[in-house]
């Protein structure tokens, strides 16, 4: 059941028109109720950062979320790293702002791309993402679905070094291995070593290569046609700015009489939040302030569904091979569902369908009333 939870302006029009009407049912307040419930429940968001070491990933994460997640990190030196393999580490932090709670999980991938031979160094990462999908799949198909933990990765920030002339082979291979499993947002890291001209050239080059290699990075959803012009303009600018060239900083410096997050060089001060210096603000706005929910939606509706469909397909083909009867339910090592439960589930399905049809009819009636 999907109600369009679009602009609240729609809803207001609804309300003001029909307030006096005897036919007014009142479910137009549903978005509000959803909102209140979510705020109480809190949100969760899982962000993955990937890229070679030394590209400023941890610094950027700290700058984005104004935290210090990596306080106790110990960096290995080159000798110790000779036998290092790609690891997956998780840091979780609870952030609260204006009554809204966010459980943020950062998944880090130390060791990626650092070895001399980086063949398939993305394998541990794709395995991790698949594991989260599998775990969710199992939980979803299980009997007790009240407290499903959603550890699926909602977004992956991929750091491209600013030193090259575009995407390197390892960048292309990584993104192609992951673009159908997770939302990839490529970033140009440490952008303070590039002049504005160089930034533009690099961005153009990277955009070209992404298209040429058929890499499906996260696309911002299209603006609704009835959005304001200003919003549409902002959206257009945002899209033309990708990939974002970012700078992060853990230190506060004094610039133009204010204390800002930045980097102090002998030739000047780079301000992280200055839009003419880098795209950090755009990234933050996009990631947190406008598209966090969409990232989660796409993960659930597209990537996860792809995985699920693929999984079920594999299983049914295996079943067909084994000559057993078809079962609509996933046959993971779960307690095998008995006939009674199957029947209950079928009943619930039909009930849901009926409710959906009723709602549609009501919506149509309201529509007709409008006209």
């Amino acid at each position: 059941v999907t109600l369009s939870s679009r602009n609240h302006s729609n809803m207001l029009i609804f309300l003001t028109c029909d307030f006096q009407d005897k036919q007014y049912v009142g479910f137009a307040t549903l978005p509000n109720q959803v909102h209140r419930k979510s705020v109480k429940k809190g949100f969760d968001f899982t962000l993955m950062v990937a890229g070679e070491s030394g590209l400023g990933k941890s610094t950027l994460v700290n700058s984005l979320f104004l935290t210090d997640l990596y306080k106790d990190r110990k960096l290995l030196n080159a000798e110790e790293r000779i036998n290092q393999t790609v690891e997956i580490t998780k840091h979780t932090v609870d952030i609260e702002e204006k009554g809204v709670k966010l459980k943020l999980t950062i998944v880090d991938t130390p060791g990626f791309g650092d070895a001399v031979n980086n063949n398939e160094c993305w394998r541990p990462i794709t395995d991790y993402i698949d594991q989260q999908f599998e775990q969710y799949f199992r939980d979803e198909s299980g009997l007790n679905r009240k407290n499903i933990l959603d550890n699926r990765v909602h977004c992956c920030l991929y750091f491209i070094p600013p030193f090259g002339h575009g995407l390197r082979p390892v960048d292309v291979e990584f993104m192609k291995a992951l673009h159908e499993k997770v939302n990839i947002i490529p970033l140009i890291s440490k952008a303070d070593c590039l002049t504005p001209n160089e930034v533009k050239k690099l961005k153009d080059r990277v955009r070209d290569e992404i298209e040429r290699f058929g890499i499906k990075v996260y696309q911002f959803p299209e603006c609704d046609s009835d959005e304001e012009e200003e919003f549409k303009q902002m959206d257009k600018e945002l899209k033309e700015c990708t990939p974002f060239a970012v700078i992060g900083s853990n230190t506060v410096v004094e610039a133009r009489g204010q204390r800002v997050r930045g980097r102090l060089y002998p030739w000047g001060i780079v301000e992280v939040e200055n839009q003419s210096h880098c795209d950090f603000v755009k990234l933050r706005n996009m990631l947190i302030r406008s598209h966090m929910h969409d990232l989660k939606d796409v993960t659930c509706d597209v990537h996860y569904e792809n995985y699920r469909a693929h999984c079920i397909q594999e299983m049914t083909s295996k079943l067909a091979q084994d000559n057993r009867t078809d079962s609509p339910l996933p046959l993971l090592p779960l307690p095998t569902p008995d006939v009674e439960t199957e029947r209950l589930i079928k009943m619930k399905d039909e009930e849901l369908k009926r409710m959906q049809e009723m709602l549609e009819k009501m919506q149509q009636q309201m529509h007709e009333k409008d006209q």
Binding site: E52, S53, G54, L55, L75, L76, N77, A78, E79, R81, I82, D114, A115, V116, N117, N118, N119, C121, P161, P162, F163, G164, H165, R168, P169, V170, E173, K190, D192, C193, L194, T195, P196, K201, R263, L264, Y265, P266, W267, G268, I269, V270, E271, S276, H277
Partner: protein
């Protein structure tokens, strides 16, 4: 045009020995003392007293004139991942468009699948002295997903140049001036991650520091603040020491205390954190080489901004000849000794060019 060959006295093959100088670097003219004791002079104990001024010290001037006439060769190799500013730095060092990028190349060049060796030569002149500068580029190094043994083509190239020189030397009728294509200096570009050396860096330097003079530089260092720079340099130095890698100037080849103290100062400051640029900007009323960013202009030759001038002074203004000498007297001799020992002696080859030996690398 080739280098002027150092003194006739060649060290014995099996043991790379230190060269004897014709004229010591800071020579003080021997002042003959009228009393005839002559004990304070350079290199002479209680030698015979000179009764007048002979003019031996003018040999320095003669050498200088000769060098100016013949000019000399210098071969520099640049190694590092693509995009680290190697070509720009070489252009900046020699204040001319000498790298490969200036001739027939476009920014859209693809990364080659294996490491290639591409060299470009130019003759540059300054103050009446001509230098044939050859820049050897190594595109493809470290750019692939699997970079195992990507230093092998480089190692092979360097050894091939030694072999070429050796063949010429061993000829019965050999050329007056053997063309010198040996790599005198290898600039290795370290990526400015700020953390530590990458595994590839260590592997490369381990394999090649005994074969060629390696000078590591931190590329594109305008991405590091002063503190980060200092920390990174310390880290790199520690790691190089821990792995037993000796870069140029090598400690074991310091000849005397003066050399040692000069070189120690340089070793403390290495690896140099450099920024390269071939564009000029107006700053402080002068035109300077730099990079213009929204937050300021990075001045390449300003020692407060980066260490480019240190590198240039070190490499070109004080140690250029030394680089060549170490290559000839140490690295080349090591190669030669190995070859002679391996094959039980090389037969002198007739000038007709009939090779009885193949270089087996």
């Amino acid at each position: 045009m080739s280098e002027s060959v150092p003194p006739e006295v060649r060290p014995k093959p099996a043991v790379p020995a230190k060269p004897s100088h014709v004229a010591p670097p800071s020579s003080v003219p021997f002042v003959p003392s009228p009393q005839g004791t002559g004990g304070e002079g350079q290199g002479s104990g209680r030698g015979s007293a000179l009764l007048g001024y002979i003019g031996i010290d003018t040999i320095i001037e003669q050498m200088r004139k000769k060098t100016m006439k013949t000019g000399f060769d210098f071969n520099i190799m640049v190694v590092g991942q693509s995009g680290l500013g190697k070509s720009t730095l070489v252009n900046t060092l020699f204040k001319s468009q000498v790298s490969r990028r200036s001739t027939n190349w476009s920014r859209d060049e693809k990364i080659p699948k294996t490491v290639e060796i591409k060299s470009v030569s130019h003759v540059i002149e300054e103050g009446g002295v001509k230098m044939k500068l050859t820049v050897i580029d190594t595109p493809g190094f470290g750019d692939q997903i699997n970079n195992e043994n990507c230093w092998e083509p480089i190692s092979k190239y360097i050894n091939e140049q030694y072999e070429k020189f050796l063949k010429e030397e061993v000829n019965i009728a050999r050329k007056k001036r053997i063309p010198d294509t040996r790599v005198h200096c290898c600039l290795y570009f370290i990526s400015p991650t700020g953390h530590s050396l990458r595994q590839l860096d260590i592997e490369f330097m381990k394999h090649l520091s005994r074969v060629v003079n390696i000078i590591p530089v931190i590329a594109k260092s305008d991405t590091l603040t002063l503190d980060e720079k200092t920390e990174f340099k310390q880290k790199v130095r520690k790691e190089l020491e821990a792995c037993g890698i000796e870069c140029y100037p090598q400690k074991e080849f310091d000849e005397d205390m003066e050399d040692k103290s000069d070189n120690d100062k340089i070793r403390e400051a290495m690896p140099f954190a450099v920024v390269g640029s071939d564009k000029e900007y107006q700053a402080n009323g002068k035109r300077i080489l730099g990079r213009k960013t929204p937050w300021g202009v990075v001045e390449v030759e300003n020692p407060n901004h980066c260490e480019f001038s240190l590198l240039r002074d070190f490499m070109i203004r004080s140690h250029l000849q030394d680089l060549k000498e170490v290559t000839h007297n140490i690295h080349y001799e090591t190669y030669r000794a190995k070859r002679l020992n391996d094959n039980g002696g090389l037969h002198p080859i007739s000038s007709s060019g009939q090779d009885t030996q193949e270089s087996n690398l």
